[in-house]
Symmetry: none
Subunit: 213 residues, 2 copies
């Protein structure tokens, strides 16, 4: 029985180093090296003959993030099993990462014992899905594939202004429209975005990054 090789892709140096120590205490795994982001990983893989068995990869990284990196790996190194590792339990992120081909998704608050189990699973079964991730994925299947909301430019403009303390009357002024027209935008957005009030608009805009706080 030989050791399986692991690389760590994470910009949190302290965490990465600590994680390396932890992985090295597992008797059948060995960390080859750490890199700080996806770009560095790809560079490494180009130069090295030996590819790792497993990549432990953070999702939020500078330069080249987890999801982008996954897509690159699929092309050039499909044999590397990627385990995503993140603070982020956002459903969308999880789904994207798994769809991109990650063999599992670990939240950083996972128990070390479970973590070892996850590594073993990925090697022997090819994947590891925690209970939480499984239920997230399953529940996402039930939701009718949200018909993608397409917003017109003018609607987006209005939506952004709705995220300020301006009154609709002022917004109308800013957009050179009658308050009643603005009222029309408001209403059609309520329908499109499935919200019931201006607060709903604000929350939607922030959640979808249309408005930065």
């Amino acid at each position: 029985m030989h050791d399986y090789s692991v690389v760590i892709v994470d910009d949190h140096l302290l965490f990465a180093q600590a994680l390396e120590n932890l992985v090295n205490t597992f008797d059948n795994f060995k960390v080859l090296y750490q890199v700080n982001n996806g770009r560095e990983l790809l560079t490494h893989l180009e130069k090295d003959e030996i590819a790792p068995d497993i990549a432990l990869m953070d999702i939020n990284m500078p330069v080249l993030n987890g999801i982008e990196t996954m897509h690159m790996l699929n092309k050039d190194h499909p044999d590397i099993k990627v385990l995503a590792l993140s603070m982020d339990d956002d459903e969308g992120t999880i789904i994207k990462m798994l769809r991109a081909g990650a063999k599992g998704y670990l939240l950083k608050d996972i128990h070390p014992q479970t973590f070892h189990g996850a590594l073993n699973d990925v090697i022997h079964k090819g994947f590891y899905y925690s209970e939480k991730i499984t239920s997230t994925v399953l529940s996402s299947l039930h939701k009718a594939e949200a018909p993608e909301v397409i917003l017109k430019d003018r609607e987006i403009e209005f939506l952004k202004l709705a995220c300020t303390e301006k009154t609709y009357k002022e917004i109308a002024g800013d957009m050179f429209l009658s308050p009643k027209t603005i009222d029309g935008y408001r209403e059609s957005l309520f329908e499109k975005l499935q919200v019931k009030s201006r607060v709903g608009l604000v929350l939607y805009a922030i959640k979808h990054d249309l408005y930065k706080i």
Copy 2:
């Protein structure tokens, strides 16, 4: 020369375990135990005779967070040197934590070598401030001391509900208050937070992490 004792207070089990391994590789430090949040730490300290030299403490924790925990430690265990450890480089958080008595503030992307240095500094010099933290603190001195907004529990409760699509009438129901009382909260918050509308409340709450999207 004896080993200095360290406890780790972090709800990210994987990180905590990994960190423990890392600290144990430093020849003059030894991890006593880990706990998941401030409450557990306090419980531990009550029962144990031996107090640790250093507490490595995350800030965002469930149950009892870093800042609250600091305040408790000041009362009962002023000798424990606390090193805050966080992803969060938000200026307000840093200042609050240092003002609460933390001996240093580390971002989780710190280099392991530097980390060892920080531990040593805290033991021998009594504090460790990274360059980034120093400059943050210094630059904050220039800003006119924003008179700190103190929100009462009930106000915070209302503020969170104001970030939903509920009407004030519904919020009143949820809080078992008359709509008129809710109106009072709204008005006093407008004044306190210097906003002019419910949108302003929502933006304030989100910006100050009182409401998570």
